[in-house]
């Protein structure tokens, strides 16, 4: 082994140990995954899309064109600034909820009898791609505002869709017989 890889090995051990220590308090506060916690997470994710029409309005090019045409410079400035803030807030919130679902998935996967390392790696890769892309989109949103950044966001959505597809493949592996005789899936 080269000196460099050994140094990396030692450093990673120390970094992960520090991370473990930092996370321990958080884990102690939320020790187990429960149906209630999940229900809250689902509600939180749903709440991001409660008013789909309103959210669509944030990115509406018609509004931007109308304001650009008829509004005074002050109003224009205020409008673009407000839309940018709203877009950033909404996008951050969506990302946070997806991250929470990922967290729930991992905590649950730890307790399963047959976790699949291959799938977990693919899921991680997809999730990291999503995180990286969403960071880029956030930057673009921050720099250009919601209207000009629409294309970038569409691309991020496609990646998120791919991530969700992988997630659903994982969930298809759930043995249906285990579900029988248990609580209803419908809350």
């Amino acid at each position: 082994m080269t000196l460099f890889s050994i140094l990396i090995l030692g450093t990673l051990i120390l970094v992960l140990a520090i991370r473990l220590l930092a996370d321990s308090e958080n884990r102690r506060r939320r020790p187990t995954v429960t149906a209630d916690e999940y229900a809250n997470a689902r509600e939180a994710l749903d709440s991001v899309f409660v008013e789909t029409a309103v959210i669509k309005r944030i990115f509406s090019v018609e509004d931007a064109e109308f304001v650009a045409r008829y509004a005074t410079p002050d109003v224009k400035c205020s409008f673009f600034s407000e839309r940018k803030k709203l877009a950033l807030h909404w996008f951050r919130r969506t990302r946070k909820q997806v991250a929470r679902l990922m967290d729930l998935h991992l905590r649950l996967a730890a307790y399963t009898y047959d976790p699949s390392p291959g799938f977990e790696l693919r899921l991680t890769a997809k999730y990291l791609t999503f995180v990286a892309l969403s960071n880029i989109v956030l930057l673009v949103l921050w720099l250009l505002g919601p209207f000009k950044a629409a294309r970038s966001i569409s691309y991020a959505i496609r990646t998120a869709g791919s991530f969700c597809t992988t997630f659903s493949v994982r969930l298809e592996r759930v043995n249906p017989t285990r579900l029988s005789g248990r609580k209803s899936l419908v809350h």
Binding site: I6, G10, I13, F59, V61, L101, I153, I157, L171, V174
Partner: protein
């Protein structure tokens, strides 16, 4: 930690550096290493005594066996140096290797304790451990059988180094699993893991520096090792001073049920989410 005979010179390392210092001079270094040795050995004894008093010996038998090994090694080494100096060097080497092998007991203890509620991950990790162990043994045996080492001490030093690297790699995998799957750990076990990671992590870096050509006598890694040793023992001493309750784990049935419910629901939630995102963002 290690002794390397290189280029006809012998390099002794902690905890017996102080013997060299006493013989070769440098009173301040002698004092420093003397203090470190006594502090370290006292801490080992304290950990063992406290373990017996608070009942950790039964909870973490492998870890305390390792601690017992370390204490025994220190005492035997000291006695040998005082009363039979000619046996000191061969004894040092054999006990050094035995201690490194015994330190694997700590990783097995961590594995046993932390993953006992997560059978799926435990099974996968066990397979990985067996594969790594087989690889390590065959690698070390090949090296020893080919006898390409100049001296026995050099051979043991290099085998010890390789064992530490493998130990480091195994620990890295375990830490990654703990962080990734948010494995619940009690305060005692967490302290044990943190101390062990600190020790192995810095040791791996230290070994890398020591085995760097021309760096065998570097002062930094030689000074770093004893300080790391005492710091690790201090972490263990604090973490295992009293028996703290383990986090409450859900019953086996509840875990299974929760997962299945969540899994089935999450699929629908995520599919719905992706649909909504696309709908919202589509011009």
């Amino acid at each position: 930690m290690n002794v390397i005979a290189s280029g006809g010179k012998a390099q002794r390392a902690f905890p017996f550096i102080f013997y060299d210092s006493l013989v070769l001079g440098s009173l301040s270094t002698a004092m420093e290493t003397h203090v470190i040795w006594w502090v370290g050995t006292s801490l080992v004894a304290v950990i063992l005594i406290r373990g017996a008093l608070v009942g950790h010996l039964r909870t973490y038998p492998l870890f305390y066996s390792y601690i017992g090994c370390v204490l025994l090694k220190e005492i035997v080494g000291l006695l040998s140096y005082r009363f039979a100096p000619s046996f000191y060097r061969p004894l040092y080497w054999s006990t050094e290797l035995a201690t490194i092998v015994a330190s694997y007991a700590v990783i097995v203890e961590i594995f046993k304790q932390s993953l006992r509620h997560t059978p799926g991950i435990a099974r996968k990790t066990q397979k990985l451990f067996i594969a790594a162990f087989a690889l390590t043994v065959s690698f070390a045996a090949t090296d020893l059988l080919h006898g390409r080492f100049a001296t026995a001490s050099r051979a043991i030093a290099e085998v010890g180094r390789d064992l530490r690297y493998i130990e480091g790699a195994l620990l890295l995998v375990m830490l990654w699993l703990f962080v990734r799957y948010r494995i619940l750990l009690g305060p005692n076990l967490l302290g044990l893991i943190i101390g062990y990671s600190f020790w192995v992590g810095l040791n791996v870096v230290n070994f890398a520096l020591l085995f760097l050509p021309g760096n065998e006598f570097s002062a930094l890694p030689r000074r770093l090792a004893p300080i790391t040793y005492v710091a690790t023992l201090t972490i263990w001493c604090i973490a295992l001073w009293s028996s703290r309750p383990e986090p409450v784990q859900p019953t086996e049935g509840a875990i299974e049920r929760d997962y299945d419910l969540l899994a089935a629901k999450t699929r629908s939630v995520l599919v719905r989410t992706s649909d909504r995102l696309v709908r919202v963002m589509r011009p």
